[in-house]
């Protein structure tokens, strides 16, 4: 016989598991949670911060105006310590800061950067300045500069001058490569023995490649006009010397150096100022390029098929 009273049954019932009740409570809790989350995420009122954070003096569309900035601005504008400024002065400064913030936000809203070249330029310059901050502040040591100088010596030597002829054996169907090399070698030997370049060329059927001007040329100009292989050979020739026959681009060349003025080497001490400037420039270019590479890696860039 069950001796329990109806009141005792209440506790017993409460301790029993009721699946329907559990599920109902679970569903109610879920619905409430989702409702709160949706309100917070999808409504302006839900995302709005209630009140101004203590570190701010104002919030303009969610953007902060820091107290510290406000105090500094007030001191600058009034030329007085903040505690000595009046409420009117503070309100005036605050109003100006709010106006400025609103205008900046309007500029962002209408996407001024998309249409105004000055805004675009200012934004690019601002980002670069931020990226370059480390390099601009960096002070390279003499060791770093000297190492840089040694790696880029050619940048700090004066330009040499050469009077060079780049002669080729006219290619035709009757001349084999071996015959062409033999002609070039004979011409080179003649030039080395003192025959003029014109005579040596004419006698052996050689002609100018057309790449070089007749007369003096700076080293850099020769470097631009000749292939790297031919320039490397030419740069080692002294006046009166000729190269051995060289195959370049399927044609047999021979180089005659008629006159040569070597480039003047500068010492590190002489070039130090230029080295410093170049070092900074290179470092700046390096960090800017790394930054761009990083930004591009994060960007979604789609190209039209013709430029892919």
């Amino acid at each position: 016989m069950d001796q329990r009273t109806p009141k005792a049954d209440f506790w017993t019932r409460m301790a029993e598991v009721h699946p329907r009740r559990s599920l109902t409570l679970f569903a109610c809790g879920t619905a409430l949670g989702l409702g709160i989350a949706a309100y917070g995420l999808f409504t302006a009122a839900g995302t709005r911060i209630a009140g101004v954070p203590p570190e701010d003096i104002a919030l303009i569309n969610g953007r902060h105006i820091l107290r510290s900035d406000f105090i500094a601005q007030t001191q600058v504008e009034t030329a007085m310590p903040y505690e000595q400024t009046t409420k009117e002065q503070r309100l005036k400064v605050l109003q100006e800061m709010i106006d400025e913030e609103i205008m900046v936000q309007r500029g962002l809203e209408v996407d001024l950067a998309a249409s105004d070249p000055d805004v675009r330029a200012a934004e690019v310059a601002g980002v670069q300045l931020e990226v370059d901050a480390d390099v601009l502040a960096q002070q390279p040591s003499d060791q770093q500069l000297e190492a840089y100088f040694n790696m880029h010596r050619d940048k700090y030597s004066g330009e040499g001058i050469m009077t060079l002829r780049d002669l080729i054996v006219q290619p035709d169907e009757t001349t084999t490569p071996e015959q062409a090399r033999a002609k070039a070698k004979t011409a080179a030997d003649a030039f080395r023995k003192g025959t003029s370049s014109d005579d040596a060329a004419a006698t052996n059927g050689l002609k100018d490649s057309g790449k070089l001007d007749r007369g003096d040329m700076f080293d850099f100009a020769v470097r631009i006009k000749l292939s790297p292989q031919l320039y490397a050979i030419a740069s080692k020739l002294a006046a009166g010397q000729a190269s051995d026959p060289v195959e370049d681009g399927g044609i047999t060349h021979v180089l005659f150096m008629e006159k040569r003025q070597q480039a003047a080497e500068r010492t590190f001490a002489d070039a130090r100022d230029a080295v410093f400037q170049d070092y900074k420039k290179d470092e700046q270019a390096r960090v800017e390029s790394a930054n761009l590479q990083y930004l591009k890696s994060k960007a979604d860039i789609q190209l039209t098929p013709e430029f892919r």
């Binding site: 009141k7 506790w11 203590p54 007085m80 601009l136 502040a137 130090r272 100022d273 410093f276």
Partner: protein, 267 residues
């Protein structure tokens, strides 16, 4: 309560246990909430108050100094040293004296340096100018730099060759354009971070070699910006802590914080 009396004995015992557990939990939560609210309110006061008035508020200053000390040791001590004396080897300033490179050593001044740093790549960093590499740029010859150093010694009442110092003075005021940042009387311009040359507290040391290197190679010291990395309350606490161990800059004719003139006149 009637229902409790009618509940089975074992159930009543379990309920008492639950009541005790809930009471303990409420006490713990209540104390935590009280402690959190106390800290929250102090932090709130710390950032809301006028920073330059905080040192006069003993309770708030004491809270800020405790909080600032811990944050300074964690974040700033590696450069400035736990004793804040800095290092002339690394060009890190001594924060315990009354000599300030930027501004005047008020809490608001220190706070801005902590917030935005020096040449830290943040738009509001102190970054108006830097010490140019005058020797490297061939603006002055090594001999002229040595003359300027002799002039600096005389400014500090130290021994120097008077003829060299005279030449150095002319260079300072003319060819070297040193006056442009350091001011005509060499007392510096804190808006630029250009130090006074009248004292011998020099960032990179006071030897002739260190001075020569500064003029020849230039200087570009840096301090990171802590905005976004530390809370505003922590940043202000650091400023109050540094202020508590240092002294504000004395006013001089070309080095006056806003209002110094008013205060002097009033005094």
């Amino acid at each position: 309560m009637d229902e409790m009396q009618h509940a089975p004995k074992s159930l009543r015992a379990r309920l008492r246990l639950w009541h005790a557990a809930v009471a303990v939990a409420v006490l713990i939560l209540g104390y935590s909430a009280y402690a959190w609210a106390g800290g929250y309110l102090l932090n709130r006061r710390l950032v809301v108050e006028n920073p330059d008035g905080i040192p006069k508020d003993t309770a708030l200053a004491s809270y800020a100094i405790g909080k600032g000390r811990a944050a300074f040791e964690t974040n700033c001590g590696s450069c400035h040293g736990a004793d804040m004396k800095g290092s002339t080897r690394a060009g890190v300033p001594n924060l315990t004296d009354n000599i300030w490179l930027y501004d005047f050593g008020r809490v608001s001044d220190i706070e801005r340096t902590v917030l935005y740093g020096i040449r830290a790549g943040v738009g509001k960093s102190h970054n108006v100018t830097d010490m140019p590499a005058i020797g490297r740029q061939n603006a002055l010859s090594p001999a002229e730099i040595k003359d300027v150093i002799a002039y600096m010694h005389t400014l500090r009442k130290q021994e120097a060759d008077p003829t060299a110092a005279q030449r150095g003075s002319s260079i300072f005021q003319d060819k070297g354009v040193c006056y442009d940042c350091h001011s005509r009387d060499a007392s510096g311009i804190p808006d630029y971070g250009a130090p006074s040359l009248l004292d011998d507290d020099t960032l990179f040391g006071n030897s002739d070699e260190a001075l020569y290197k500064s003029i020849y190679d230039g200087r570009h010291g840096k301090c990171p910006a802590w905005i976004g990395k530390l809370s505003f309350a922590t940043i202000r606490a650091i400023a109050v802590y540094v202020h508590s161990l240092s002294q504000e800059a004395p006013a001089s004719p070309s080095n006056q914080p806003p209002g110094a003139e008013t205060e002097q006149t009033a005094g």
